[in-house]
Amino acid sequence: MNKKALDIILYGLLLIGMFVSLYLIFQYAPPAINPTNNQTWYEQKIFYVHVSSAWTGFLAFFVVAVASIIFLRNESRIADLVAQTSAEIGIVFTTLTLISGPLWAKSFWGRYWDWSEPRLVTALILWFLYIGYLILRSSVGEDFRRARFAAVFGIIAFLDVPIVFLSVRWYRASHPPLLVFEPGGLDPSMKVAFFFTLFIFTVFYVVLLRNALRIKLLQDELNRLKEVI
């Protein structure tokens, strides 16, 4: 199968997946009951995009760390490109997490942000760390040296990901821990909607990464050919 046919199939499946996800979230999964006032809690549906984008951001930063380790071991240009591209995508999904989170919080806590919440603060630090990573990458200096610095930074920055994830268990916090795998945590139909949305977000990440890498490699080839001509 050639690349174009694969792209068309992948895009078609993603488009269908998006509509299926919307159906599952808004029609199939029932709205939750707000424990603070026992009323129907429609804003809870933000959870599906909030957790899925957070997961995709974490996955992207994990890929940055792995690609950085590979780059430090064998100085592979592809590994360096994967790390840079994955960090860019990770920031987009973490931004979506940081926008959807406060919207959910407003409906539950009555305020958008709480500086005493460890998960919120550590997630914001994570976002700043990877913004710093991209600034480092775009700074002046010799390419290879900069890539090595960025790789080390990318590995160290990833240490914040488990801190974000575990912070609600380590400290007394109002941010709910992920109850998906715990008995009585989520209604079975909510689980279906959640895992399907999570899957679609993950596929989006993979396709975004693949496309961005192809663009960078094609741009490299184009520049090389322009020098020849």
Binding site: Y42, K45, V49, V207, E221
Partner: protein
Amino acid sequence: MQTLMIAYAVVWAIIFGYLVVQYMRISRLENEIENLKKAIERKS
């Protein structure tokens, strides 16, 4: 809930729209490379 549904659809549309832009850029770059390769062949 309708507002939330529209917001979801907008988020999906933005991500999917970006994928389409990426696809168009890939096609354009591939065409440019193909044309340059042909030009180099003609030159040599």
